[in-house]
Symmetry: C2
Subunit: 144 residues, 2 copies
């Protein structure tokens, strides 16, 4: 199971055991990434939390997102013509990127997780992972 509650409990545990102070800002920021179906930018996260926590600063959001990525609770999504986005989905997946509105959707397909790459083409690189971006026009943009 991977419910929101489970993920949050995991996170609190990690902070406690690793000696990272569990601040309301961290909790709110991780919650916001977990809750978002889109892939929010730092600014998106900031705007979504600001109403309930007016003292929050954008710098803290950047620092915390960076730290969450380092601790492997979220990952960064780099798409063209867009600031860095964040993603709490930890199951292996790839991305559908709308070339019109720059929306990013997750795509899960085991066929994409194991690519048949010929080793002799790797030019001596030690591979640590890969990521597929599929470009296209999303349903909403097709209607325009």
């Amino acid at each position: 199971m991977n419910t929101l509650e489970h993920r949050l409990a995991d996170f609190c545990n990690h902070c406690r055991t690793q000696g990272f102070p569990l601040t309301p800002q961290r909790l709110a920021i991780f919650r916001a990434v977990l809750a978002s179906v889109e892939h929010p930018t730092a600014e998106d996260i900031y705007q979504s939390i600001k109403p309930q926590m007016p003292s929050l600063s954008l710098g803290t959001v950047y620092r915390t997102l960076e730290w969450l990525a380092q601790e492997r609770f979220i990952s960064r999504v780099h798409a063209p013509d867009s600031p860095i986005r964040f993603d709490a989905n930890r199951t292996p997946h790839h991305h559908l990127v709308c070339v019109s509105c720059h929306r990013v959707a997750d795509i899960e397909d085991p066929a994409l997780d194991e690519l048949p790459i010929a080793p002799e083409r790797l030019q001596g690189f030690t591979v640590t992972g890969h990521h597929v971006q599929i470009f296209g026009v999303c349903p909403a943009c097709q209607k325009r």
Copy 2:
């Protein structure tokens, strides 16, 4: 054939027939992208041309690279933790990205050009293309 001379002639032709003034700046910038084996950033291009053309401005480099991409003579490469890079390679290919030094190498493999994506997973997106990024450590960084 796709020699440098051929690509340049193509480019000059395109400008002539499409009514785009063929300026020394445009020629120098396209030449620089063609000549580079790495995937240069705007700043890289600027620095490489500056000695022979001291009047060149960075703004022109950005404007020209953007225009070259629009006219499909080059493409943009978006890699994590790096400014936008440019690529004159027009044969279908993908990228090897070094997670240590952020170098980007081309990888050509027909297996990557036609991915077996199940249509029902596309969530209504109209697909226009895709791109594979393979992350790893390049030979130079492995030795450190």
